[in-house]
Amino acid sequence: MPTASIITHSLTKLYGSLTALDSFDLEVDQGSIFGMLGPNGAGKTTLIRILTTLMRQSSGDASIEGLDTLRSGREIRCMIGVVSQENSLDRYLTARENLELHARLHGMDKRLYKQRIDELLELMGLAGRQKDFPDTFSGGMQRRLVIARALVHQPRVLFLDEPTTGLDPQSRRVVWEYVRSMAGSMTIFLTTHYLEEAEQLCDRIAIMDHGRLIAIGSTQELKDRLSGATVYEIEFAGQEADRYTTLLGSMPCVVNIRRLGGKVTVTLECWECLSEIVTALNGAPVRRISLQERTLEDVFISLTGDKVRE
């Protein structure tokens, strides 16, 4: 039975009259990769700021490795690594100097951090650029440098706030590789609004919106929640897709519908509704109807009634 690394209890944060976190209860197992999935404005950054002792909650409590965030801030900061949403690299210091300053702020001994920094630069594929300034780096390299910085003091818990937002798909995959390679050696708490990212990386996923926890479980558990709902992709020949999208969209058994060129994706309440759809499509130039595997996105839509806001 793994013990919990992060625990929050009735955690609430108000900004004036806005409730950014609403009685948030959460447990994250030690050594797991945990994904907090939510659209923009859901409250993900607010949660991370409280957990990393940058901000105080309005009520409720939170603990990291058994230490209370309000009372043991310093002890907690000794053992966490933080990759914030904004790029907080020092552009007047070289890549290596960025890491060295961070090591010194953690009170590390020079002999110790020199070797550790060598290792990290190597690991993150930045060794050849260590004397360059971060301004000259690509977005993906900057992210990797921020991650390296968060790892210098060998934290037990790593927080990543939207680690790949704004990166091109290829750099994103590279970052994923690094995050995966750290699995097991520490607890990793990451936030994202990319469903694929959560699905690819995380052992457990929580979905939040408007400051509230909506669902929590493994990817499979979350998909299983969509008991009845099924998603079909219908491919039309010619220019008919538009007309049929409107027609299908007006049917009560259709939960959600999206069109991309000639392909229409419909989410049905239950698979039995398929016959109604087939009847409605009688005579339409349908090329193909195929059953789609459920994705986290379907889970998200069914839980929040909304697509993930970018």
Binding site: S88, L93, E97, L105, H106
Partner: protein, 251 residues
């Protein structure tokens, strides 16, 4: 306890060393222009002020002005930049160091900029003008320059902490900081003020600083009360800047 302050201050010094030449050229150009325009250009029209040629009268003030405005500017812009643009303050805050260590580092950095740039202008004025003073006057002068730079550095930290927009910082500098410097007898003796105003002008720490510093350097006067006034102002703004920064960071 100040390990974090030392690390951040050394970071700032590393960056200053890298840009030393351009920083110094920029900072020396302004007071030197004033010196040439007023001290030399207007000298013939003005004659003696408080018994010394006008160029001698304004030279100490120009050095002091350079030092304190460099201290203020470094603190205000650096704090704003690291807080609002680069988010480095945030990256410092997730390490075990305290918020006070961060603000103390920034105060030290502003102070160091002030002293270095003040000295640079002093050396240039010494090199290219006939301005001379006995060496022991320098010790008296430093009694003003050191707490004066500290005072302005702390004031800059306060401004850089409470102001989030760069245009506000510019406005405060134009309507508050520069007038405070110019009103305090930098270019004219305080006796030029109407009798009723002098009392109030003397209450300003900047007056104690600029008048005291000038008299120390030119005449070797030791105005203990003025030194104490500047020192006390520096201590008060130091306490205020630490308090205000901690308050701002606690959201």
């Amino acid at each position: 306890m100040l390990r974090g302050s030392l690390a951040i201050w050394q970071r700032d010094m590393l960056v200053l060393r890298r840009n030393m030449v351009s920083e110094l050229v920029a900072v020396v150009a302004y007071p030197l222009t004033i010196y040439l325009a007023f001290g030399i250009g207007m000298q013939g029209y003005i004659g003696l002020v408080e018994g010394v040629p006008y160029s001698l009268f304004i030279a100490p003030g120009l050095i002091t002005m350079t030092a304190v405005s460099a201290a203020y500017n470094e603190s205000v812009w650096s704090l704003w930049f690291h807080r609002r643009v680069q988010f480095t303050v945030e990256s410092y805050r997730v390490t075990p160091i305290t918020v006070s260590e961060i603000v103390i580092a920034k105060i030290l950095t502003g102070f160091t900029h002030g002293i270095i740039k003040g000295c640079a202008v002093g050396l240039v004025i010494f090199a290219i003008t006939p301005f001379r003073f006995p060496l022991e006057h320098l010790l008296h002068y430093l009694l003003f320059l050191i707490p004066g730079s500290a005072f302005f550095s702390c004031a800059g930290v306060i401004s850089g902490t409470i102001m989030d927009k760069p245009e506000t910082i510019g406005k405060v500098e134009a309507v508050l900081v520069m007038p405070l410097i110019f009103m305090s007898g930098l270019f004219f003796p305080l006796s030029s003020y109407p009798q009723s105003v002098i009392f109030w002008v003397r209450l300003l720490p900047t007056t104690a600083l600029f008048e005291g510093a000038r008299k120390a350097l030119v005449a070797g006067d030791m105005m203990t009360l003025s030194v104490l006034q500047v020192l006390l102002s520096a201590l008060l703004t130091f306490a205020a800047s630490v308090y205000i920064f901690r308050f701002k960071m606690s959201e």
